[in-house]
């Protein structure tokens, strides 16, 4: 297929359609509304289900219902709306059924603003709904990646009976880039052995997240964690740039990662041996790749559009063996490459203390300028 210029949000919508999306339930919120708008035309045209729900709470529970029947189903929202969906996410996780959710993140907390941000990393990766549950979180940094990962997210969700989330910031949702759309997949209902789609001459089925006996719930928690080991072993994805001889390594996901790429290129042009690791799956996080790099690196720089959330995952891996520094722009501010370049230069000029708390030292630097 030839490349076309696709807007991120619309590309995700079309990619989902081509991956066999049978039902979409959503609610308007900037900066993801184009997903809803696009599918409000596209789904009825194909005779597939589309409902603009009364709220994100309604939307995620419609997703929950449709997911119980075993069809490919998705919702999308932006930060405040995703917060409302956390109830449903926990239930979907507890019921062990596949569903896809897209979060086009904006500045927060609270109503915040509609500018691009990455402040929902913790919510997506660690927190969110109640109870212990793993989930797969993919972080595209370009429109093509958004398309590819949307298609992948349905496969992963079904393979592991798990929520797969795409987190991208508003700028990837709004941006247009040349991208290749995969071919339209035929809808093939997979007849999962768990789906509640009407008994029709088989044993009846129940889908629920209730395990009233704590020992049964404990078993469920362990089962989820065991399944997560498979995900960690098989599904880690990341992209490396200029890492072969890198002494300094920048780590960033999504837009922060691609902005860092510009800075890394410029630093290379200035003779600094710096590379970039851009996690594509932020959950499972590429701990092993980072472990390998910990031997090679003189220092790390984590850059995010938040106050240092993925930073925790980096520090968990590096464990004080090498200096880790942080640079962030929270609240809906997108960093320019020169800001990250300055950080690279600062770190390359050294020395950087290994035991400092990178978040606190960054905060001191950030507030000293203000």
């Amino acid at each position: 297929m030839p490349k076309e210029l696709w807007k991120g949000n619309e590309a995700i919508a079309e990619a989902a359609v081509r991956a066999g999306l049978e039902a979409y339930f959503g609610y308007p919120i900037t900066p993801q509304t184009e997903v809803l708008e696009y599918l409000s035309r596209r789904m009825p045209e194909l005779g597939r289900a589309f409902v603009q729900a009364e709220s994100e709470l309604g939307a995620i529970n419609m997703v929950y219902g449709a997911a119980c029947t075993g069809v490919r189903v998705m919702s999308s929202s932006s930060s405040p709306g995703v917060s409302l969906m956390m109830e449903g996410l926990s239930y979907i996780a507890g019921t062990e059924i596949p569903a896809v959710l897209v979060n086009v993140m904006r500045g927060g907390p609270g109503l915040g603003n509609i500018a691009p941000a990455q402040g929902d990393y913790y919510q997506a990766v660690r927190g969110g709904g109640h109870g212990d549950y793993p989930r797969i979180v993919l972080a595209p940094a370009s429109v093509q990646e958004a398309i590819d990962l949307t298609a992948l997210s349905f496969d992963l969700a079904e393979k592991y009976r798990m929520i797969t989330m795409l987190i991208l910031d508003g700028s990837t949702g709004q941006m247009m880039e040349p991208a290749e759309m995969p071919a339209m997949q035929e809808i093939k209902r997979k007849n999962f052995e768990w789906a509640t789609n009407g008994a029709m001459n088989r044993e009846r089925r129940i889908l629920s997240s209730i395990y009233l006996n704590p020992l049964d719930e404990e078993k469920t928690n362990l089962r989820l964690l065991t399944r997560w080991q498979d995900v960690q072993a098989n599904e880690v994805r990341y992209k490396e740039y200029f890492l072969e001889d890198a002494q300094f390594i920048v780590i960033g996901f999504g837009t922060a990662g691609r902005v860092a790429l510009s800075a890394v290129r410029e630093a290379r042009a200035q003779g600094i041996k710096v590379g970039l690791l851009r996690p594509i799956t932020v959950s499972p996080f590429p701990y092993e790749a980072l472990e390998q790099l910990t031997g090679q690196a003189e220092a790390f720089l984590v850059t995010e559009m938040n106050t240092g959330q993925m930073l925790d995952d980096v520090m968990l891996t590096v464990r004080g063996r090498k200096p880790v520094e942080f640079y962030g722009r929270p609240g809906g501010v997108v960093p320019f490459p020169d800001e990250i370049l300055n950080e690279i230069k600062r770190i390359a000029a050294g020395p950087v203390p290994v035991h400092s708390n990178p978040r606190v030292s960054w905060l001191h630097r950030a507030t000293a300028h203000a």
């Binding site: 309604g58 939307a59 929950y64 109830e87 008994a199 029709m200 009846r204 629920s208």
Partner: protein, 256 residues
């Protein structure tokens, strides 16, 4: 097993053999049985998907011989929407209490009704939150004592009861909306007929259908089963009049 010649009562096939967990004298069991009989009589047990609520009926899925899912509190109409939209040929119903439907799930029920979702809702109104131990519900009568309105519901500070059937009947998406009661055999028969009509509304694609059933809660009301039936007759029905709140022209043609 031998079958007696004069068999007049047996477990519907739409029921599992699992004994229910409901309190003695509670009308949930009656309501369940009516739904089961209707599904069986309509020959749709095999293609029905039930949506259980959070509340006393949380384990409804243990009793019905159909596929079942268990919704978050109040969200059953949203889940039912998701199921029905991808499986329009199946029969989809929710079974919800008044805390579930009229309190936390008010948005979901109103919008499912407004969209005219082709689902059937069996709504149990027993004027309190049963499962959590008898707290005030939106349907609790003025002056009625509950564990969270221990001095009696004071409408000045705790608001007025919500009349769900009256409210939903104003929505164009609703095909069938009636209130019945389970306090005596005659009304139970009328309730069954209404449940049948509601499911017939759904299979004919005539829009949203809901049957509100005035029910008892002897345990939380602190009454004997017999007195609680009297309470329904003497106090609930005056506050929640029985009747047909909306029957669309198309639904009126259905003969059951």
């Amino acid at each position: 097993m031998t079958t007696p010649n004069n068999l007049v009562y047996e477990r519907p096939e739409a029921f599992t053999e699992s004994p229910t967990h409901y309190c003695p004298g509670c009308t949930h069991g009656v309501a369940h049985r009516l739904v089961a009989e209707v599904l069986e009589e309509m020959n749709v047990v095999d293609k029905t998907i039930g949506v259980a609520p959070v509340g006393c009926a949380v384990f409804a899925y243990n009793y019905f011989n159909t596929d079942f899912v268990e919704a978050p509190h109040g969200r059953a109409p949203a889940m039912a929407t998701g199921i029905k939209r991808v499986l329009p040929e199946r029969v989809v119903f929710t079974y919800q209490g008044d805390g579930d439907l009229a309190s936390i799930g008010m948005a979901e029920i109103v919008h499912a009704a407004a969209r005219g979702e082709n689902i059937t809702v069996v709504f149990i109104n027993n004027a309190n939150f049963g499962m959590t131990g008898g707290q005030m519900a939106p349907t609790t009568l003025p002056g009625m004592k509950t564990s969270s309105s221990s001095l009696g519901r004071d409408v000045e500070t705790q608001g007025y009861p919500i009349q769900v059937s009256e409210m939903l009947s104003t929505l164009a998406g609703v095909g069938y909306c009636v209130r019945r009661s389970l306090h005596d055999p005659k009304n139970i028969r009328l309730s069954k007929k209404a449940i049948r009509t509601a499911f017939e509304t759904q299979v004919r694609g005539l829009g949203f259908s809901i049957v509100e059933l005035l029910s008892t809660c002897p345990t939380n009301w602190g009454m004997t089963p017999v007195n609680s039936l009297k309470f329904v007759e003497e106090h609930m029905i005056p506050a929640y009049p029985l009747g047909d709140y909306k029957i669309s022209e198309a639904v009126k043609q259905i003969k059951v």
